[in-house]
């Protein structure tokens, strides 16, 4: 095996196709970083936004008559607070800003009925406000630099199903879609956009030919290995192990590249930045963003193994490399679409259908479980079902291969 692994790795890493695909991945990550960098709300942007709000207050004061002193005083008070926030931002005094936002949100949330009491799902819901408050408290407790904006309208949760107006919805999403070019937050964004079914298909094309071109029952280079003093199972397993190792390498290299961009052009960021996790009965908790990234990668890795097992099976049944990859993509795509239907999600055994777990981020945040009203959609159930199904498919592939060989 120690002879085979370096040879297998060399074989694939020396192909132009592999190099080009890796370059494409690096370019994608780099461009996404540039996009995130440009859209990051920095201290200057924060102060600038405050200035705009302040000038609108000033305009309101200018338009007030002398009899409306109370309202003028309110605007003046608001302007003073804005000045205070801008000054705090200038001094990187996040504590002051977060304190302010917590106090404001706590005032607001008092006027919003909770979902448990009334079925109100208009953005920002009581739940969403609670999330904002707790998130900001977490930021304070962990001494974390916030990713702006952090006010009560800066969050959309699964409970926010209604928007009063189209403009409300537009504003909500503008505040909600936050970007930050620090390593950790950028990786969080990257994971959210990359660890999807699209990402899995990318990996199928990246490594597909490795299994299919030289796979089970093929002529060509596999015959070279077949006439070496090597056990057949070692040849097959070395391919699978190489596939796993190279997948880990590509995932880690991508993460490292993203992290490096963040460190060089911004900062490493905060490992313990809070990520919302849904829990039953209108409750929630947070996990550290770093851990969230690791768990997402782990689940995605499980999904890739599941995809590779299909590839393995089809490589036994079909002769053409391209058709094998296409059929795998179709299988994965169809499984994903069918599993996405309300009927499929409602089934009692649905959490053990591996195709559900292509919604990596929603699975980790438990938003998928919340939407399906089935809290058995957990990452670990996903890992178990992916492992079992992958194993079954690989065993079927071996069985068919042995039957074919006879």
């Amino acid at each position: 095996m120690k002879d085979l692994l370096p040879f297998e790795i060399k074989k694939i890493s020396k192909t132009l196709y592999f190099v080009m695909m890796l370059l494409a991945l690096i370019v994608f990550v780099s461009f996404f970083f540039i996009y995130s960098y440009v859209h990051t709300e920095r201290v200057d942007d924060y102060i600038h936004k405050n200035e705009i709000i302040k000038s609108s207050h000033q305009l309101s004061i200018d338009e007030l008559s002398n009899t409306e002193e109370d309202r003028a005083a309110y605007h003046l008070e608001e302007m003073e607070e804005i000045d205070m926030l801008s000054e705090a931002a200038r001094n990187h005094d996040w504590e002051t800003i977060i304190h302010y936002e917590i106090t404001t949100s706590e005032e607001i949330v008092k006027g919003i009925p909770s979902q448990a009491e009334e079925n109100v799902y208009t953005w920002p819901t009581h739940f969403t406000n609670e999330v904002v408050i707790e998130r900001n408290k977490w930021l304070l407790a962990h001494n974390i630099q916030p990713v702006f904006p952090i006010h009560n309208a800066s969050e959309i949760t699964a409970y926010d199903r209604v928007f009063n107006t189209a403009l409300d919805e537009e504003i909500a999403y503008e505040f909600f879609n936050k970007y930050d070019s620090s390593s950790i937050y950028f990786l969080y964004l990257l994971v959210g956009n990359g660890l999807t079914i699209g990402g899995a298909i990318f990996f199928l094309f990246l490594f597909g030919s490795m299994i299919t071109r030289e796979g089970l029952g093929r002529n060509g280079p596999i015959h070279f290995l077949g006439t070496m003093p090597l056990k057949r199972w070692k040849i097959i397993w070395s391919k699978l192990i190489t596939l796993v190792l190279l997948t880990i390498f590509v995932l880690l290299a991508t993460i490292l590249w993203g992290a490096l961009l963040g460190i060089v052009f911004d900062r490493f960021g905060d490992w313990d930045y809070p990520v919302l996790i849904y829990e039953p009965d209108f409750s929630f908790r947070f996990i550290e963003m770093g851990n969230f990234i690791l768990l997402s990668l782990l689940l995605f890795f499980g999904l890739l193994i599941f995809c590779y097992s299909w590839l393995f099976l089809y490589s036994v049944l079909l002769k053409q490399t391209f058709m094998t990859i296409v059929l795998t993509v179709i299988t994965v795509g169809l499984g994903y679409l069918i599993s996405d239907s309300d009927i499929a999600m409602a089934q009692a055994l649905a959490p053990f259908n591996p195709f559900h777990y292509f919604h990596v981020i929603e699975i980790i945040t438990m938003e998928y479980a919340f939407n399906a009203d089935n809290y058995n959609f957990t990452m670990w159930n996903g890992m178990i079902s992916l492992f079992i199904f992958s194993l079954i498919i690989i065993l079927v592939a071996f069985f068919l291969f042995r039957r074919k060989a006879k």
Binding site: K11, K14, L16, N219, G220, P221, T227, M228, L230, A405
Partner: protein, 294 residues
């Protein structure tokens, strides 16, 4: 016993590719496997090396069961060049073989020199000509000095110089004790290598020896090839000049002594004379073309 193949049968879909192949090789020798396309030569090699399963029969190589992968420490199979990895260099291929065979890397240079491929050792296979690929396949096959060498069409794509070099290497290996089973359509080359030929037709071995076929072919290397050809043609000798720039003729209508003395009379020096039997071609025509015309 070096090779023992007994009643080997292989069916592919509805056709029997091998229909009871049977032969034994008990001492080191060169054996040629000759037959038209589709006669089952490659299938036989693939069955012998366990690349292909078969329906019935037994195969023993070097007194071991053919499925024993440790056999490949002593057996080499020179296959079709599609087994090569286009993105890797010749060196990568040979290094891998060395690491699997537990050979020192110094063997790579040694075998490259022997085959004559030092110049392109570090080149990627995708830039190789057909002949260069054959060189690499040969190098991979002989790097471990195998006891049994199976060669499927090794002369394909080789230029005359390379073909001569390959012949030289094979004869050397034979002298060193390697048993070689070679399939080829180049009957001249076969005749130069051996007189033990297995003719294959419709999945069976028809004949195992050519001892009764004594027609000879002569190859003369002369110092003035064009002049020599002109003189012989003037004197109505049916000769031709082959790719290796040799005067070539057979003993059916022409005597070797007559030709040499005629050339000497015209001050043409005969530098080298090579004599081979042309049994393979003659017998092949009888067996295959004759059958077809019936």
């Amino acid at each position: 016993m070096i090779v023992q193949v007994d009643n080997l049968k292989k069916k592919y879909k509805k056709d029997w590719i091998l229909q009871g192949v049977q032969f034994e090789i008990d001492h080191p020798q060169i054996v040629a496997l000759v037959g038209p396309n589709g006669s089952g030569k490659t299938t036989l090699f693939n069955c012998m090396t366990n690349l292909l399963s078969f329906n019935s029969g037994t195969i023993k190589l070097l007194e071991k069961d053919y499925t024993d992968t440790s056999l490949f420490y002593d057996i080499a199979y020179l296959q079709d060049n599609r087994i090569l990895y286009e993105n890797l260099t010749a060196y990568d291929h040979l290094k891998f073989v060395c690491s699997v065979m537990k050979l020192p890397n110094s063997k790579i240079i040694e075998v490259a020199e022997r085959v004559g491929m030092q110049r392109y050792l570090k080149k990627r296979v995708q830039k190789f000509s057909l002949g260069m690929k054959q060189h690499l396949l040969l190098a991979m096959a002989i790097i471990n000095s195998p006891k049994l060498l199976l060669m499927d069409e090794p002369i394909n794509g080789l230029d005359p110089t390379s073909a001569i070099n390959m012949r030289k290497i094979l004869l050397e290996l034979h002298e060193e004790g390697t048993t070689i089973i070679i399939s080829s359509h180049n009957l001249d080359e076969i005749d130069r290598l051996t007189n033990t030929i297995y003719f294959m037709k419709d999945g069976r071995i028809l004949e195992e020896s050519l001892k009764d076929y004594n027609t000879k072919k002569y190859f003369l290397t002369v110092n003035q090839i064009d002049q020599a050809k002109a003189i012989l043609e003037e004197n109505a000798y049916p000769v031709k000049v082959n790719k290796e720039e040799q005067i070539e003729f057979d003993d059916n209508h022409t005597s070797l002594q007559e030709v040499i003395s005629l050339l000497n009379q015209h001050d043409i020096l005969v530098e080298d004379t090579e004599i081979i039997r042309i049994g393979a071609e003659k017998r092949y025509l009888e067996l295959f073309e004759g059958t077809n015309t019936e």
